[in-house]
Amino acid sequence: MDSRADGRQTVSLQLWALVISIPPLAYLLIDLLRYRAQSSGWFAMRVMIAQMLLEGKHLYVEVFDFTQPIVLELLKLALLPARILQFCLNPFTNLMGLQFTFAADFFAIFAVFACMCGSLYLTLLVAKCALATADSEVKEEVRITILPCLLGAATASLIVRFDYGDLQHLFTMALLPWIYMRWLRYRGVEFPRLLALTVGIVTGIAVCFDFPYVIVITLLEASFMIFERRWKPPLKIELAAVAGILPLYLATISIPELYRQKYWEIIVPLRWLSIWQENMLVFGPHSTSKRLDVIYSMCVVLMLSLFFLKEKALGIVFSILAVMGFGLYLLGGDGLSHDLIVVIFASSIAAMLSFTEIAKRLSAVDVSQGRFLKIRQAAGIARKIEPHTALLCASMIFTVAIAFGLHENRALLAKVILKEEKETKYTFEQALEKLSRPRETVSVLYDTPLAFPSMLALDRRPADYILYCRPLLTLDWAKRRGFLTEPLTKFAQEAFVRIHVSYDTARPDLIIVCDDYCRDFITAEKTWKRLLETYEIVGNCRFNSGRWPPREYVGFNWNMNALKRRMP
């Protein structure tokens, strides 16, 4: 009888999980498909690199970026269906004389969306296993916490819509089932090996996405240990998987000679330098996003956690994750929203857990006694409301509120575009559309990869070895402080030669050069002068970015020169 009831409850839990996750996720999907060009610049750039790698180019030989190769390999996997479909359809389209290309970004967006749903489902599976095997106290806690966690994660994905698919976003997807599983492990719950291994592998892969994530995962485990006052963590298979994947990954990329050399001599030091680099561009007023909304929300959530989640390990660990996310934001050093994804994710879940705890405490208040009438009234209401219905309402309300927020951000961007259209000849998109054609090569020298969502949506191909200029700025900063190692010095020289050569040999159809340090760099290397011999400036354009998502500038909303090849 009990097991039947448990089974019914589990099915009901799955249904409720689906129902409360649908509003934010459905809205997110619609929004992603409707505004394709407003995705994360970094995500779009990685998709483009993955596309180039699928087309047969070689990482570090023909294209360079300090993204971990594992991210690019995963994106290649995501784009593989597009490639296969393209291959299958090519004979027919050729017969009909059509040129048909599958948009890579669609596949990438769907792949990330699938990962997100997978992460939520994996967490739900972890909860289901706990409901099947744990003791009644733990079962009760799982019933209370699982839905707020899922809702928090889904809502956070919608909040970070403009940074969808960024590294931190992918990392948080892996963290959700991991934290949930580890929390239950500390409560003595056993899981099937396959599930534990899956969670471990997923988390292990996510940890390889960036170096600071190793510290995050270690500190999370330490947080559980401190909170549960255990000197020895439960050494289970998922922990072994996480601990094993990173060395395995590092060993794998060290096998090919070229990878080993470039990875250890250039990528790792460059990433390390980029963490410590003082970005002078963000020193001035209004030079970066002012995401006080996220920081203040984090402060409120921390306070709520201190009040209501005092004895709740799960809530405390998510709060600590929010603090670590704040640390990652500081490490990022650019003040961009994509460095705040972990804060948003952890704060959302901690807030949901706090609200659930408040509702639970309210419903436990004796309505007939007590000094504060308002609290008694609220307690009366809290008792009448079914918790799952309340969560569904919360899901809808949050979705609508965030949708308004996204709309507001777009309205702000529209204002900027309207204002700057008067000052420039083209917007960046117009420059791309009018001065180049699909599948043509375009070279954009800009500080951040803001150009790539539009390039991906309009099917333009990058022409450069280094796809955005920040690594050059890092190298320059390190050079002036004498931090450059010999390989890095060589690489710095090589980078400029590459730019030079790409203009001479690849001869991009359109070159867009930002008026900031990028222009200074190529002017100093005398590339600009030579460039003007074969190209002419046909107008100026801007990214029309502001100090808020979807497009955030770093430093200043710089003017850009659009150059077209001179007619012979």
Binding site: I295, L302, L306, M324, L330, G335
Partner: protein, 648 residues
Amino acid sequence: MSEAKKKPLKELWNRVATERAAIILVVLAFLALTLERGYFWSLHPLHQFPDQALYLDAAQWIMDGKVPYRDFFDWNPPLIMYLSMLPIMVSKVLPFHPIFWLNMLIIVSTFASACGALYIAYRYLGRDEFFMFIPMCAGATFNVFEQRFDMAEREQIFMILYLPFMVLRYAIWTQPIKGSEQPDIKVSRSLAMITGLMAGIGLALKPQFFCAHAAFEFVLFARNGMLKKRLLRTEILAVVLVMAVYAFYLIFLLPNDAWEVLKNEVLPLFIYGYEYSSKSLMYMMHGGPYFYLPMVMFCYAMAVALFANRYSQWAAPLAAFTLIGLFNYLHGDQAWPYRTIPMVSGCYLLCGLAVGLIGKYLYYKSRASKAVATCLLATFMLTASIYTYIDFENTIDEVERCHHFHNLKDIGDYIGWTPCPPMLDLNPTFMLMMKYSNYDDKVLYLGTGINEGYPAIVQSGRRCATRYPFCPLFLVDHCIIHRPKEEKERWTRLMHKQIENYKQDIVRDKPDLILILAYPPFIDMLERNGFFDSCLPGYSKYSKEFNTLVYLPEWNRPKIPVKEPPTSTRQDPSDESAEEEPVTWTEVPAEPASKYPDLPEVPPPAKADTAPPDEIVVPAPPQWHKSVKKQKSIQQKKPANEKHTTGR
């Protein structure tokens, strides 16, 4: 029976002995820190920063009978100016510079505050809580002591005055009260009154401080309840009393015309003009070690608070205090590290709490708990001693390594003691003031902020020759340019009014020296608004040194040494013997004041009779101290009767 009696007595003795030993050790540690800091500041007798120096000057003006806002412009609430009267008064009695006394008073107050907080913890907290509080108190005190660059800022004074009150309030909230099963803690009325009065002064320094304390109290209330009984207490009444007196002064005693200036000039500029100096959010958190270290501490302290919340009642209220501190800093929108002091103090308290909790854990886990306690205290004392020793050595090294400014005899003649500060503590504007004016002369400095003009004016013992101790014109200009068009007329009127005020002040006070920051946009702004034409008749540009234009009145033009005609062999400028040439003194012809100052300045062709001041102009930093040495040697060669004349 006797055995039963003996045991509690023994326990009591043990307890008292341990706690007393702890207090003695900790107070000794604080004393060592105090002496070390006192030594450090005695070697830096003129080391001060712009805001604090301005408050000292404002205190002097108030003592001279001037009214804040009406007679001098500032946008800080006036309490700090009244507090700054204390070092001024001490310096009138004892023969040292007010800056020295201000720093010393802060050091002594910090020591007193730490001892007071410890005493309250000893008296009113439980034994465990007392021992846990020791590292907390040490952390907070260390943070206050270690303020080198923000010495005597209001945030630091707040933490000094607030710490004992914080402990007392915590004790009151967390101890059982009357009507419950256990007896109430009885706080001595005089102690509560003193603590409350001190905290009231601290809290009244800035409204933000009150928010931080309100958050602290609110969390304790939410945890413990019984609001009425815990709020209506002597120390709270003392705080209310201070607030009431301050409010009474502001409402009834501050003259109407001061309010008018505050309403129409100070507040609008404070709200809109400050945007000029704002920095990006990332810079405020990552712009250098002074910014990112507090943020790193914040992350660490928050993690500590989340863990410690289960074991100590301190965690949540301190976390609330720290979070409000962060909010105050970020919302202030200015990258001024001193604004992080309350937040960082909260972080130190939380870190101290972590140490205390670990100590407590070890104490109870260990069989020889007394030995553990002694070891912990000894470690604490040892750490403090080692730190003090290292810092002491560093101080001596640093002072020995740097050059000192010896030419402060004119100040010494007036204050009864000739300071000999390290050159690092003095800015180039100070050098210009020493060069072109005398003690107690009136000096006008125009720049884009408080910096440079202050602390140089206070350090050199000059007087500010205008109601604007710092030039607000650039901020008004910023508002004219960046505020909506409909406000333009209002800001333009304010600009004209302030220039008119400058004109009146210059005519009335006849400054002996006017220094203008040679920052092209600033000069352009002054020129656009007709400052040179309307305010500087009778003054002429004399030189440009240290990126500053020097304007002198006709009566104060110094005699400049004219070089002998060049000999055939060119001398090395670094050659000391070059200074041994005989010099003659002649008047330098003035350039008309209304002429637009050319930037960058092109030196006029060398003429024997109109020798430009280049001969004595010291080169730009960082080698400026050497040049001052050269200047000093030139001054020493002047005949006694040929000193700079003031014409008065």
